[in-house]
């Protein structure tokens, strides 16, 4: 591995972190891969979140559910309406509910308070669906959240679903799995539903209304959408999901696990798709039609994507002139998004020089390695010091990342695009390509950078 050499020249990389960083070598792949999908080093300024965070971001977009956080107030406060998931109807999920555990609850246990909290909600609103998030200390103080949920579900005849999400019990990916388990425990009860020809969209959270764009595309090519996880979803839409004949998985990191379970127990096959960039959007739509065995839809998809691509081509071309030769750094949550972004930058004549993810898997990193030019830095669970080092070393012009990366990029005088919860407009589909290109252009070519005094 080349990593040894980097470390020699670069004192800001911790020894324990060496295996998580890769410089792509000349002549293809390194073969032995890199380490990923494991816990962060103690003491690292990690950009990563926890199990609860992972579970919450997946489930939160379910619009008509009560999301009650069982724990001290913080976990509820930090996740209050921050996802940017849009709704077409109910907006209950945009409120923040917490049992706000206090010292006496820590001493005597929080089960009573949880029971009372659910009862207060049930008696006032009688919702069909309630999620109870068990945070770090709930298990430690001995609360049996599952028992409380079971008892009260029976009492009220609705779905009160525990989400096992103590922060320490893994990383954000574990949280995704816990959320998927919670969803399965709901829809699993409806698995004998008769099949219809149509798809579920998995792993799209309707950020800035992206789900609506994709739904519209599918409508255009004659593909029926049964249900969506979890963007703009509701109790009724979720329980319809088992009748779909295909699952399309957009955010693979969070939802492949759910897709696999649905395949196993409901006989619904899945394919991974991405709607970021012209290339991936086009191939995804065609692959969906193919997976459904729908030749008519395939023809439509080909025609539709061709005409859509043409529609935006001129504008994209015009912006491209401003961007050719610029260098991009990517630091996002999952591997699949990183892959799409590398392709998207390539189509703009931009080279990706640093790429990292919080929760990428081995396969993802293999694809990434095959896509990027040699000497590109590939990082798993990077910390700010590493991002800084490599962005400077590789002379990145723009960073694509999330909330914690934005000020870091700015301080370095590097342009930025939020491809996470704070995205300002849809980045998916053909519309998204245009928005993305415009945003990249407006940040990279903003006059403000000229005023920085070195």
């Amino acid at each position: 591995m080349v990593v040894e050499e980097i470390v020699k020249t670069d004192s800001s990389i911790l020894k324990e972190r060496q295996d998580f960083i890769l410089h792509k070598q000349a002549g293809g792949c390194s073969g032995d891969g890199m380490r990923c999908d494991s816990d962060s080093v103690s003491g690292a300024v990690s950009q990563r979140a926890c199990v609860y965070c992972g579970a919450r971001v997946v489930l939160n977009p379910i619009t008509d559910a009560f999301h009650i956080v069982h724990g001290p107030i913080g976990c509820a406060s930090y996740t209050w309406d921050i996802r940017g998931s849009l709704t077409s109807k109910e907006d209950l999920y945009r409120n923040s509910f917490s049992t706000d555990l206090r010292e006496t609850d820590i001493i005597f246990g929080g089960e009573k308070k949880l029971t009372a909290a659910i009862e207060e909600v049930m008696e006032k609103y009688n919702p069909k669906l309630v999620f109870i998030y068990a945070t770090c200390i709930v298990g430690v103080i001995g609360d049996d959240v599952e028992a409380v949920c079971r008892t009260l579900s029976e009492k009220y005849g609705n779905h009160i679903i525990p989400v096992k999400s103590p922060g320490f019990s893994g990383n954000k990916s574990t949280g995704y799995r816990m959320a998927c388990n919670a969803i399965m425990s709901l829809i699993g009860q409806y698995k004998t539903k008769e099949k219809v020809k149509g798809v579920n969209i998995l792993g799209d959270f309707n950020l800035a209304g992206e789900m609506w764009i994709i739904k519209d595309y599918l409508k255009q090519i004659g593909v029926h959408v049964v249900s969506s996880f979890t963007g703009d979803s509701s109790y009724e839409s979720l329980i319809a999901a088992p009748s779909a004949s295909l699952n399309i998985v957009q955010c693979a990191g969070s939802s492949t696990y759910l897709a696999k379970q649905m395949e196993e127990t409901m006989d619904i096959p899945f394919i991974k798709v991405s709607f970021f960039g012209v290339e991936d959007t086009t191939s995804s739509l065609i692959r969906i039609a193919e997976a459904l065995g729908d030749e008519k839809a395939r023809q439509k998809a080909i025609a539709f994507t061709e005409s859509k691509a043409k529609e935006i081509q001129d504008l994209v071309e015009r912006y491209k002139q401003n961007l050719i030769g610029k260098k991009a750094a990517i630091y996002v949550g999952g591997g699949f998004k990183a892959i799409s972004l590398i392709r998207q930058f390539r189509s703009l004549g931009m080279e990706t020089v640093v790429v990292g993810t919080q929760t990428g898997k081995k396969d993802d990193y293999e694809i990434i390695e095959s896509l990027v030019k040699e000497d590109t830095v590939i990082l798993d669970d990077a910390n700010p010091a590493e991002l800084e080092t490599f962005m400077i070393e590789k002379k990145a012009d723009i960073l694509v990342g999330g909330v914690k990366e934005r000020p870091l990029a700015y301080k370095l005088g590097i342009a930025f695009c939020d491809h996470n919860h704070e995205r300002k407009h849809p980045l998916a589909g053909f519309e998204g390509v245009l928005n993305f290109v415009k945003e990249i252009n407006s940040s990279i070519n903003n006059p403000v950078w000229d005023y920085i005094k070195e």
Partner: protein, 454 residues
């Protein structure tokens, strides 16, 4: 939005909806960022650290650096001692701070990690410091965490019998860097040498230089904290936030203190200035007299628009009280004052303010939430809401203008650079309040009533 909020108020005992507070550790992290060359460290799951950094970054729009012990299942069973030990070593090796300021979390508190013992047993490199404070998330709020971290610095570093240094210790309260700059300006004008603990100016409002500094120029110097015992006096600003730490310094080093409300509005600023003046015996310079005169001039100009207007104020206890006292000076009626932070002192102080101005029929509540505030407003409307970002949904639902003051403000920029304290801060408050009310009049009055001159 917020269709679920019923007008009818029923008592809630077990559930908080839309909190007006968050948990202790984030306050501790903010305080620790206000010490130069200090890295805040979160002893718990890595999600806590990620959430707090995100929360602070969203408010200040600046990087908030902190590390985490990254608890795993093992740590939650066997204690986090070894995580902390590894973390401290890694942090000094990689990030080179002069000091690590550890705060606990609900998890490390509940499993009973003894931070005193752990730190005593540690190999700390020469000339480096590791300090800590306990911040159980299930007690108090983020404000309490801020206080505890300040006290923690004093407990570890301030020495009894320090040579008198003629300085005054200023404890700023949970305020923005802009306010801390204002304090320094005022102290400087009155020729009072100060040590302010903490001081986040120059850290969370650091200028763009094109270089990323993990430890920006600002922050209280560690040497100055060590010499706090030699101060003439402590001026604790914000009674609920700062008095407990002033008391710690008094007990430990015999430095007497005076504790007063945040210098917001005319009288509170007068009192602060007089306190400084008493110490330095210098005459109040003309620039300050001039500022005060300008403020009163402004208040006279706007009084036809502010007098008798009802306002709902929410946020942190000292901030709410400060805003309320200025609102009363403007002839406004602080109809509702609410904080999520527990503590009877808030209600007592709020009621005393109302009594002083002879204003009746107002509600003051600690440990409330925004759901309750919304219900109050539904029952009796106000003309203006003052608080953080999370008031925006109520403002929209009820068509009431919102003035953003306090913490957190995550949907606007620049606010953290600007003071609300001192005469200049009061001028800014006056401008924000008057403009909001007058903009509302412009956009809501009948067309025939639109006026060019106001």
């Amino acid at each position: 939005m917020l269709d679920y909020t019923p007008k009818e108020i029923t008592e809630r005992k077990a559930i908080v909806i839309n909190p007006a507070k968050t948990c202790q550790p984030v306050g501790a992290m903010y305080a620790a960022l206000g010490v130069h060359n200090c890295l805040p460290h979160s002893h718990g799951s890595q999600g806590c650290c990620a959430f707090h950094r995100m929360f602070l970054t969203r408010h200040f729009k600046d990087p908030a650096m902190a590390s985490s012990s990254s608890f795993t299942e093992g740590a939650s069973v066997f204690g986090g001692g070894s995580n902390l030990k590894t973390a401290v070593k890694n942090i000094f090796d990689l990030y080179h701070p002069e000091m690590i300021a550890v705060h606990t979390t609900c998890l490390s508190e509940t499993i009973g990690d003894d931070l005193n013992a752990l730190i005593i047993d540690m190999d700390i490199p020469d000339g480096k410091y590791v300090v800590h404070c306990n911040t159980p998330s299930y007690k108090g709020s983020h404000v309490t965490g801020f206080t505890n971290m300040v006290s923690g610095f004093i407990k570890y570093l301030a020495k009894k019998g320090t040579e008198p240094n003629g300085k005054v210790c200023i404890m700023p309260g949970f305020v923005n860097p802009g306010d801390m700059r204002e304090y320094k300006k005022l102290a400087n004008a009155l020729k009072v040498p100060i040590t302010m603990l903490p001081d986040t100016s120059g850290v969370m409002d650091s200028p763009m230089t094109g270089k990323y500094e993990m430890y920006p120029k600002g922050g209280t110097l560690i040497d100055d904290i060590k010499e706090l015992g030699g101060c003439i006096k402590t001026v604790a600003l914000g009674v609920q936030t700062s008095e407990p730490s002033a008391e710690v310094l008094r007990k430990q080093c015999g430095v007497e203190y005076v504790s007063m409300p945040l210098p917001m509005g005319v009288e509170a600023t007068d009192n602060f200035i007089m306190e400084l003046q008493k110490i330095s015996k210098e005459e109040v310079p003309y620039e300050i007299e001039e500022e005060r005169g300008q403020l009163i001039d402004i208040m006279i100009d706007i009084h036809p628009y502010t007098y008798g207007k009802k306002v709902a104020i929410f946020g942190d206890p000292d901030t709410v009280l400060g805003i309320a006292s200025f609102a009363l000076e403007l002839g406004m009626i602080p109809k509702y004052m609410v904080t999520g932070t527990p503590g009877a002192a808030f209600e007592t102080a709020g009621k005393a303010l109302l009594e002083k101005f002879g204003v009746e029929d107002c509600t003051v509540k600690a440990e409330g939430d925004l759901f309750l505030l919304h219900q109050w407003i539904k029952n009796e409307k106000v003309d203006l809401i003052i608080g953080g970002t999370h008031g925006k949904t109520i403002a929209r639902a009820e068509d009431i203008p919102l003035v953003r003051m306090g913490f957190p403000i995550i949907d606007r920029y620049i606010h953290s650079y600007m003071p609300l304290t001192g005469y200049r801060g009061a001028m800014r408050m006056a401008e924000l309040i008057a403009s909001a009310l007058m903009d509302y009049q412009d956009s809501h009055c009948e067309e025939k009533d639109v006026e060019v001159v106001m």
